[in-house]
Symmetry: C2
């Protein structure tokens, strides 16, 4: 590395809210090939941040960044439910045991009520800390996608 100092600084993040979902245990979350994420949930944003949601109703889909708050440590290679027979690099998967345990989910925005967003497509545990919400703006056309070991 040309600038090793950049790699050793730790930064603090602080949740902007929590997710309310139907999932009390990771075993309840649909996983693996063909898993459909249609569960509804609520993103409860901290009341003092409500103004940050201004205009969000106009977007059909959102990126949600959140913490795998129950993950303990990480693996560099791992087996995941979608392909139990081969191990893959952690950065080639969406496993929870990552160097930085940050999850990323695209949800459909159904309704906003003050600082609460009702959404479809949650795949995180109830009580999950939310780090950020961003508008989902565009797609890579499916004909241009290669999905690696998943195909």
């Amino acid at each position: 590395m040309n600038d090793p100092s950049s790699n050793h600084t730790a930064y603090a993040v602080k949740p902007i809210g929590i997710a309310r979902t139907p999932f009390r245990d990771t075993s309840q979350i649909p996983k693996g090939k063909g898993a459909r994420h249609t569960a509804e949930g609520t993103l409860e944003i901290r009341p003092e941040l409500e103004a940050g949601l201004t205009d969000i109703e106009g977007f059909s889909h959102l990126f949600v960044l959140w913490l795998f708050h129950r993950a303990d440590g990480f693996d560099l290679v791992t087996r995941v439910p979608v392909d139990e027979h081969r191990a893959h690099g952690v950065f080639s998967t969406r496993t929870s045991r990552r160097p930085n345990p940050i999850g990323l989910t695209v949800v459909e925005l159904l309704e906003r009520s003050g600082a609460s967003l009702r959404v479809r497509g949650v795949d995180m545990l109830d009580g999950t800390p939310i780090l950020d919400i961003k508008p989902y703006l565009s797609s890579i056309p499916s004909e241009k996608l290669r999905r690696g070991w998943l195909d």
Copy 2:
């Protein structure tokens, strides 16, 4: 909030590497409506994490999570280059001045060389700390997207 304690815990994140890009200053990064992100750059992952990149060559596109490491504080409502005349909620924009200054970019993977990934589509400053890499798996069809105040 039903569980306020979840909202006040700070978590530490630590970069997994840094991005090498052509951009020394934010003014050099294409912004606003119609901005095209075709710049090439390199994601230099920490050598001890190289095994985590196993199989990543098979994916055409990757999500990169990174830190706006020069951002200082945040705004709840903000004006952005794509619409300078109206302010929008921070979570309705991709501005750097966010409660958690985490950026998200979809890049095209061109080549892997050990712990370095050559990619197209970088829009972050040279030296940006990288937090995570995930495979980009699917798209929301464009006919199902609403892009809020951007449309």
